[in-house]
């Protein structure tokens, strides 16, 4: 995508480039929204619903959302399940390996806030937004496959407002919060041997 990124900056400077950029944006957003490949970061119970969602009955392929195990192929990371402190560095590392532009869906209460493990456990990260920028929060324990479908469609709406020009797109410019800059609770600490 490096070519497109440079193109946006170059066009913005040329007189009348805005119009070209708008049209380019429309094309890029349309095509990005049509094939949001998923990185299934399934760790616990929600992973079962994630599997069910991509299987014959709910069939996510029809939305262009194909689960790919390799982060380098993927546009959207679906964090499905509890993220423990031992697992968090691995999740962060996989997120870093995904090419821009990238999005995150926090699937299930554990990924949203820690869920049932929020109050009195010592090992669970209280929500994946402690260390990743989350775009869609999906409640449920676990959410139904239809909810995940809804999350993908909502994400597609969000993608359609992004711009390829630097400074105009939230996603391309917002840097990843440094580990430890958590908003609430304690930051995830390295699991030692994870990664």
């Amino acid at each position: 995508m490096a070519f497109v990124d440079d193109l946006g900056a170059a066009l913005d400077k040329t007189p009348g480039g805005g119009i070209i950029l708008t049209s380019l944006d429309a094309v890029m957003d349309w095509s990005r929204g049509k094939s949001l490949w998923m990185m299934p970061m399934g760790t616990a119970c929600c992973a079962m619903e994630l599997i069910a969602a991509s299987f014959s009955r709910f069939d996510f392929d029809r939305h262009g959302s194909i689960p790919r195990p390799d982060p380098r192929h993927c546009d959207v990371m679906v964090v499905a399940g509890t993220i423990t402190r031992k697992m968090a560095p691995a999740v962060q590392r996989l997120y870093d390996q995904m090419p821009d532009p990238k999005w995150v869906i926090a699937m299930g209460n554990c990924a949203v806030s820690g869920g049932i493990f929020y109050y009195d456990t010592y090992s669970v990260v209280r929500g994946v937004d402690e260390f990743l920028p989350v775009d869609v929060y999906l409640a449920g324990c676990p959410p139904r496959p239809e909810s995940l479908q809804d999350a993908i469609l909502r994400l597609r709406e969000q993608v359609s407002t992004d711009s390829i020009a630097p400074g105009k797109s939230r996603k391309l410019t917002s840097p990843l919060p440094a580990p430890g800059s958590a908003r609430r609770g304690e930051p995830p600490v390295g699991g030692g041997d994870a990664g």
């Binding site: 970061m41 697992m87 041997d193």
Partner: protein, 364 residues
Amino acid sequence: MTEQTIVNIGPSHPSTHGVCRVVVTLDGEIVTHAEPIIGHLHRGIEKMAENRTYLQVVPLTDRLDYVGSMYANWAYCRAVERLAGIRVPERAEYIRVIVCELQRIASHMMGIGSTGADTGAFTAFMYAFAQRDHVVELFEALCGARLTYNYVRPGGVSMDLPEGWVEQCRAFTAQHPSAMLELDRLLFGNVIARARLKGVGVLSADDAVAWGASGPTARGSGVDWDLRRDDPYSVYPRFDFQVPLGENGDSYDRARIRLWECVESCKIIDQALDQLEPGLVKAEGLPRLLAPRPGDAYDHIESARGSLGVYLVSDGTPRPYRMKVRSPAFCNLALLPLLAEGHTLSDLVVILGSLDPVFGEVDR
């Protein structure tokens, strides 16, 4: 011997069936040592149970073995009932047997399906998952949840069977055995799957006993041990069923006897539905806050993965003093270094799949 290579698989890898990390030492392509590193899903459920009342622990047990939540519910409730001396109504026992045998089918469909996916037969996974979806639908009609049921409670079950459920369940058990025969032909009759599974990861009966293996992992090696028959609990003595056994102890036998167990489960469900009488589904006169007298209790049931035990200690307060889960998945996973040695790296994945671990239960 060539230079040793160390390969790291996981913790996020599609064929580790969860968040397991395996550090593999390779000589060429041959595994000389495989070390599973667990704990990536350690959520401290046993510790959390100490801060909850006895009833509040039930939803936590759902999240232990999330492929077979009903088992953890039941094992925990049996321990509580033993501790507090609660008698469970007969209808509740029948319902528990029915839902747990359905759960066995749902869980084994996942296990067999992922064995198919590991050996390159993804179609078999789709067929298996279609059957699983029927079971999940039945559970949803029963308690409103697809995965985390919170259905079996101390003293019975949370609610009675809804109208028309028995007919739906009979319709499922009527078609399931023939679907299993189809799956057997599709997966275990396939020459590629046979080549990938036969003779891979052979576990001797002596080793299975010595390492504390249970469930299909032990029965695949010919260890004739099933708690439903050998340490009968609930109403299991009233049913007529077989315990399928493997002969060679390889991945093929471990995976295939799961399939026959599903057919046997259908028989049990049919008999239970025939014998089901109207009545109470929860013991009467239970206090809202259970506070059993000081003591301890252990109870175990045959889950889809093996003998699942829950040990509870009470100090007379409304919260458990200590809860310990004896996880069959943990004990079975410990066999991985033994089984994988001498096989190729691609066979390691198949062996791990045939042990069918669920990491919620391994790490707890």
